[in-house]
Amino acid sequence: MMRVSGSGRIEPAALSAVWIREWTVFLYYWRTRTFAAVVEPVIMLVAFGLGFGRLVSHIGGIPYIQFVGTGAVATAVLFSAVFSAMFDSLYKRRYQRVYDAMLAAPVDVDELVTGEVLFLGVRAGVYGLAPLLVAFLFGLPPAPAMVLVPLVGALTGIGFAALGMLFAASATTFDDLSYVISGVITPLFLVAGTFFPLQRLPDWLRTFALFNPLYHCVELIRHCAFGLRPGADLVHMAALVAFGLMAWWLAVWRTRGRLIV
């Protein structure tokens, strides 16, 4: 006999059902999705590392290819989480209408969003390992704290997946997402310290970076690789948690507005 609680509570059974749906769909497309999510950051790593690395040997005492390698982890997390959330969510809501089918079952909007965001976040954490493994090939020395990298990636991925769902819920067509990609995602990607340090940027850009969740992710991953800084890392972690919670809340609010009329 099924047990269902009234609305207003996020139930593990509903979350796991949403999660299983995502996993089932993922099993159909894991090759293409993994290829896109993994190969692009690795290409960036190799291109910047080998190309730009011949002009810049070290940054802050770190070989440039290793600097980029750790930055590419954050890039992989960002891209895999936010793009999947944006495009898949809009497709499911607007065109496939599978969200309508799911909400006709004992699943509420907050459970739907939470389940999808958690799945995409964890998947992003796993995908973020690919550039790290490539960086090992370029001489990045393994460090014990690197076991935290998937956790940092997942935490960041949850926030960006929620942000992607928020954008999807605000969009009417796929073309609308172009504004987000050019106007939001690209600046976040560039002003995060992934490919170059932020120290020599103008003050206003460095201030902007403080509000960029990807910057905090990059810093945490670099610290996992090159030495933890507990005080600073707690601040970075808190920033990512705050970002994730805010993005999740906004995604639930906006998605509910779209799906429940």
Binding site: M1, M2, R3, V4, S5, G6, S7, A13, A14, S16, A17, V18, I20, R21, T24, V25, Y28, Q96, R97, V98, D100, A101, M102, L103, A104, A105, P106, V107, D108, L259, I260, V261
Partner: protein, 315 residues
């Protein structure tokens, strides 16, 4: 095409159907900006019947269905489904409700079996019963031989059957069917009708919206005729026909101008008529001795009732 299996039974440990009506809507209003989609809807669906919500496109039937699934919130009125008050207890109601929408919302890229398996989880079918539930839904939909095919490769009729199988995966007490046979060929429609009747015979309450008169006449134990967001007549189909169209009607054929003239005369004389394509139909002809022109006498239908009440033509 394989024939549909008609075996459907409620799990023994499911809660008993409520003593009261399966669905109760009182004074329900739903507006979309300046459009009033549902305008004081009063509806009471008894438990264990097949109930037809009959009305033209745009009458508010689909909005009423969405209100019942909690996907639209009424601006006014009170709603109870299976004893649960909506929207506060919508989730509890949805757990015991199956929904087949008007437009497909299948995960079309998944294989048929996976579509059902995913929804078995979403509907909280216990893990030990899940495999059997999927097999039963496959049999209900007559799709055993297509279980490993992707849903996108199914014909329109098969996809509709899969939608119904998906809606029944958890043996719901209440099944909402929103225009279940729209766009389907007559053979598939007949099969789905058999399936719907089997559901009702097994004790499930079926609430079916349709704009097909024949569908409502064949399937529905009770009918509510909906127009402009409100119920304009409700009852047993035979009672509605008797009350609003009498025992006999007469179809008088003629040119458009002749029919227009006849209608003006009928209105002036206070005779009940309704337009029916190339004819003017005189209702309650048994009471109009000598006042009705020569024409074809026949038994009245639900369509006569609908058009006379709403002025809308339905299929």
């Amino acid at each position: 095409m394989s024939s549909l299996s008609l075996t459907f039974s409620r799990p023994v440990d499911a809660p008993a159907p409520p003593d009261g009506p399966a669905v109760s809507m009182r004074g329900v209003v739903k507006r979309f900006a300046s459009v009033v989609a549902v305008n004081g809807l009063e509806l009471e669906v008894p438990t264990g019947v097949c109930y037809g919500l009959l009305g033209p496109n745009g009458a508010g039937k689909s909005t009423a269905m969405r209100i019942l699934t909690g996907q639209a919130h009424a601006d006014a009125g009170s709603i109870e489904v299976l004893g649960y008050r909506l929207p506060a207890e919508s989730k509890l109601a949805r757990a015991r409700m199956g929904v087949c929408p008007q437009e497909s919302n299948l995960d079309v890229d998944l294989r048929v079996r996976d579509v059902l398996s995913v929804f078995a989880r979403l509907y909280r079918v216990p893990s030990c019963e899940r495999a059997a539930a999927v097999e039963r839904a496959l049999a209900l939909a007559g799709l055993e031989s297509r279980a490993l095919d992707r849903a996108v490769t199914l014909s329109g009729g098969m996809q509709r059957r899969l939608l119904i199988g998906r809606a029944l995966i958890h043996k719901p007490d209440l099944v909402l069917l929103d225009e279940p046979t729209v766009g389907l060929d007559p053979q598939v429609r007949q099969e789905l009708w058999s399936l719907i009747l089997a559901l009702r015979d097994e004790g499930a309450t079926v609430l079916m919206s349709t704009h097909y008169i024949e569908e409502a006449e064949r399937l529905a134990d009770r009918v509510a005729i909906v127009s402009a967001g409100r119920v304009v007549a409700e009852g047993l189909p035979a009672d509605l026909v008797r009350a609003h169209a009498g025992r006999e009607v007469v179809d008088v054929r003629g040119s458009a101008s002749e029919l227009a003239a006849l209608q003006r005369q009928a209105q002036a004389a206070g005779l009940p008529t309704r337009p029916s394509g190339p004819a003017l139909t005189y209702l309650r002809a048994e009471t109009l001795d000598g006042q009705v022109p020569d024409g074809v006498r026949r038994s009245p239908t639900l369509e006569d009732v609908f058009v006379s009440l709403t002025g809308d033509y339905v299929e």
